[in-house]
């Protein structure tokens, strides 16, 4: 019994210690604008929400509604790294890995781009020969200079595994962006501080613009390979649901309440449980022993 109590005290101490510590942010560095309420949703993503045809207003909206088998609007025109207009038709002539991000993201966009750059070096398929990578900024304020800078960083990180011309970094106006994201069922929202909430996903597209497969999680080489392989055969396929990472600029204070409530709840249940045990001990009148009094 003494041992049990000791354990209990030890655990409670740990917990109280834990309760005092603030939660670290979910991921990514907290950005300067972090004090703004994350709940304030900008107008950015509103228009294409209706396009996602959510019937039940209360049901949570999907961040990614897969459109596997559908075709991209290839006539859309974006800007390339030098600011020249570039239609999707011009670059979707072999399998393409399409990655919606924005280049000055405080969340996980750069980690995603980096993961992809690293994965490129470990693939069974050959970047440039078997497929091409296209990053598209979802932020219509970003300019081709931003794209150029990002390109320099990530081409370098890929360590020469992909020819420069085979990884494109596009920017575009709002209409082109929302048409494209609606076509791939990708929801994003702008926050009051100008940052975006958006899912991290990569879309594999066949050479005729058909949507083949979605890749989630950390873009591990195996996933990327499978996507390229299926895109090469032009066979739309069910994606594998790894963790869906939502990229956002976390408000360090927003979820503090919830996290504290959770910890308090865990503690409360644990305390109630311990109390119940002690009470039951009492009611039972201590040791219940078959051979009570028989032996010393």
């Amino acid at each position: 019994m003494r041992f049990a109590l000791g354990t209990l005290v030890f655990i409670l101490t740990l917990l109280l210690h834990a309760g005092g510590g603030g939660p670290a942010c979910a991921h990514g560095p907290p950005a300067d604008g972090g004090a703004n309420s994350a709940a304030a949703v900008g107008k950015g993503g509103q228009e294409h929400d209706s396009a996602l045809s959510m019937t039940d207003a209360r049901a949570p909206k999907e961040w990614v509604e897969e459109k596997t088998g559908a075709y991209l609007p290839l006539e859309l025109v974006f800007r390339d790294e030098d600011g020249r207009p570039l239609s999707l038709e011009g670059i979707v002539d072999k399998p393409v890995l399409l990655l919606p991000v924005y280049y000055y993201c405080a969340g996980s966009c750069s980690r995603n781009l980096a993961n992809l750059a690293i994965a490129l070096g470990r693939l069974k398929s050959v970047p440039g020969r078997d497929f091409r990578v296209v990053a598209v900024s979802i932020n219509d304020r970003e300019k081709s200079e931003d794209a150029r800078r990002a390109k320099k960083t990530f081409i370098k990180l890929a360590g020469g595994k992909i020819p420069e011309g085979e990884w494109r970094f596009l920017t575009g106006d709002r209409e082109a962006i929302t048409t494209l994201t609606a076509a791939i069922g990708y929801r994003f929202e702008q926050q009051a501080d100008g940052t975006f909430i958006h899912p991290s996903a990569l879309v594999a597209v066949a050479s005729d613009g058909r949507i083949i497969r979605y890749v989630y999680g950390d873009f591990i080489p195996g996933d990327v390979d499978m996507a390229v392989y299926d895109a090469g055969r032009n066979t739309p396929s069910l994606s594998v649901k790894r963790l869906l990472d939502i990229c956002f600029n976390p408000d360090p204070n927003a979820s503090k309440g919830v996290v504290l409530a959770v910890k308090a709840g865990v503690l409360a249940i644990f305390a109630a449980f311990t109390a119940a045990v002690l009470l039951l001990y009492r009611r039972r009148g201590g040791r219940r022993d078959r051979n009570q009094g028989v032996k010393e």
Partner: protein, 540 residues
């Protein structure tokens, strides 16, 4: 004592007959058997699902099923194997049956609560599987059910979390019974260092369980709130945290790993000395390392409480703890091997299965170290390397320990002996099949084959095809062992009280035991693994 007075004939409380004697029993031994049948059912079902998945993987492209079927199968296989086999099997069956006996008690501290746990287990299990089939489409996110994937796409996740909660309650109540029985029902003559190691391991596990279950309860409340009130707890655009669920989930699931492996180690610590005719080497070291694993498990848990998200610091701390858990595990392996050294080994099916455990578990632990080193993890993460690693731990470890326990305690539970030859053939087939199935998976994983696909790139075909034969051999072996045991139930109940020469209390009472376990007061040895009597008897 005649067999007619055993717990199989006499009911507790007395006077109940027919189905009532079972479904309303308070007897920890009958409850152990009721768990046995339920868990065997789930296990066999999930093994068949595993074999079907492997069959699909034997050929490239679609072999016997498409991606939807494959995805629902690994989800179902994972859920059953973790929640309905791995976590409950050893504590609920063998713990219920033998923990009170090893402590010299006549039952657990709360017999009626014990019955309630069984009903919760049955209900939760049915509910878990039902929840997967209900709703719009079978979940294909694997047994981890990551929100926001699942919160928005599959309505059934709240049901599944409910089921996990019910099952968690069930194992927590069992844990509560173990802790209270350990402290309050133990024979007065038995001091802490006279307690058998199996019981010690269950005691340590019970604490981890009591600690971890509140988390799943809270997760349950949050998911239900989110489903029905849409307050956006997991929705960043409503101020929520999309990683909160994942965080809570792992807070529960990390300790679950220790819940799965600790009781298995307890089983092995019983079997090795019994068949070496030699006292266990480093009894205290094993006790303390069980407690150390439990405490390390709780530390991982506390660490989760402390920080949310995986910052660099938490990745580091987590890797460190993974390495630290290796120390007490290694202590145990060392103790087992030293116990066998210079022992007079009597080969038997449970002993052979324990040797398989030591070997496979060690490999599992070593591959775990590869994963624990955060750096290497990146190469192999989400590949078949990870899948093979946890099968080494959970099937090679807990699974083989479960079969060893079945073969060790079967004569005591049912009073019958089984045939040795099919047991050996099954065990060898299972062990060889295991290696031929999971070693190719380790290699495929290192080559980069991602998990959770029904299909793969052409260069992985040979490995996957060959692994298939291993899987069939493995499943053949497992089923052969089970059938051999089940058929032995037709044999006359002639098992001696102590067929193996064991020294713990369950071997001092008849097989099968009487309802009240001990008709005379138990004779508590100064040291639970004192073989001097057994050895001198056999020398006569």
């Amino acid at each position: 004592m005649t067999a007619a007075q055993s717990y199989l004939e006499q009911s507790s409380p007395p006077g109940r007959t027919g189905w009532k004697a079972w479904l309303l029993t308070h007897d920890h031994k009958r409850l152990g058997l009721m768990y046995l049948w339920a868990i065997l059912f789930w296990f066999v079902l999930a093994v068949i699902l595993g074999l079907l998945m492997r069959t699909e993987l034997m050929g490239m492209g679609r072999t016997i099923m498409g991606p939807e079927a494959y995805n629902s199968m690994f989800t179902l296989h994972g859920v059953i194997m973790i929640f309905l086999f791995g976590i409950p099997a050893i504590p609920s069956i063998f713990g219920n049956f033998f923990l009170p006996i090893q402590l010299g008690a006549d039952d657990v501290f709360f017999p009626r609560l014990n019955l309630l746990s069984w009903y919760l287990f049955m209900f939760g299990g049915g509910f878990a599987v039902f929840s997967l089939f209900s709703g719009d489409g079978f979940p294909d996110t694997g047994w981890t059910f990551y929100v926001p994937f699942s919160i928005s796409s599959a309505g059934n996740v709240s049901l599944t979390v409910t089921a996990a909660f019910i099952l968690g309650m069930s194992s927590m109540l069992t844990g509560l019974n173990f802790v209270t029985t350990f402290h309050r029902m133990r024979d007065k003559a038995m001091g802490p260092m006279q307690i058998p190691l199996f019981t010690w391991s269950l005691y340590a596990t019970a604490w981890v369980q009591i600690l971890a279950t509140p988390v799943i309860a809270i997760t349950f409340v949050l998911v239900v709130l989110e489903r029905f009130l849409s307050i956006g707890l997991f929705e960043p655009d409503k101020g929520g945290d999309p990683l909160l669920y994942q965080h809570l989930f792992w807070m529960y699931s990390h300790p679950a790993v220790y819940i799965i492996i600790l009781p298995a180690m307890g089983v092995i610590s019983e079997i090795i000395p019994a068949f070496s005719r030699k006292s266990i080497f480093g009894y205290k070291a094993i006790v303390y390392s069980s407690l150390a694993i439990a405490i390390a498990g709780s530390l991982v848990w506390a660490h989760h409480m402390y920080s949310s998200g995986m910052s660099d610091v938490s990745v580091f701390v987590f890797s460190l703890l993974t390495f630290l858990v290796a120390v007490p595990s290694a202590v145990k392996v060392f103790s087992w091997v030293s116990t066998m050294y210079k022992g007079s080994i009597a080969m038997s099916p449970p002993f052979f299965l324990s040797l398989c455990f030591i070997y496979l578990f060690t490999v599992g632990g070593l591959t775990g170290l590869v994963l624990g080193a955060a750096g290497t993890d990146i190469h192999v993460h989400d590949t078949h390397f990870v899948v093979a690693h946890f099968h080494f731990v959970m099937l090679g470890g807990t699974g083989f320990a479960f079969f060893a326990a079945l073969h060790y305690w079967w004569p005591k539970m049912f009073g019958v002996m089984y045939r040795n030859r099919p047991a050996y053939v099954g065990a060898v087939a299972a062990a060889v099949g295991f290696v031929f199935h999971f070693v190719p998976m380790l290699i495929l994983g290192m080559q980069g084959m991602p998990r959770r696909y029904y299909d793969y790139l052409p260069q992985y075909e040979t490995g996957n095809f060959l692994a298939g034969f291993g899987a069939y051999l493995l499943v053949f072996g497992l089923l052969l062992m089970l059938l051999n045991l089940v058929f032995s139930l037709r044999n006359p109940r002639t098992a001696p009280a102590n067929p193996w020469g064991g020294t713990t209390l369950e071997w001092s009472i008849p097989s099968p035991p009487p309802v009240e376990n001990f008709t005379d007061s138990p004779n508590i040895k100064d040291f639970p693994y004192d073989f001097s009597e057994i050895v001198s008897n056999s020398n006569k």
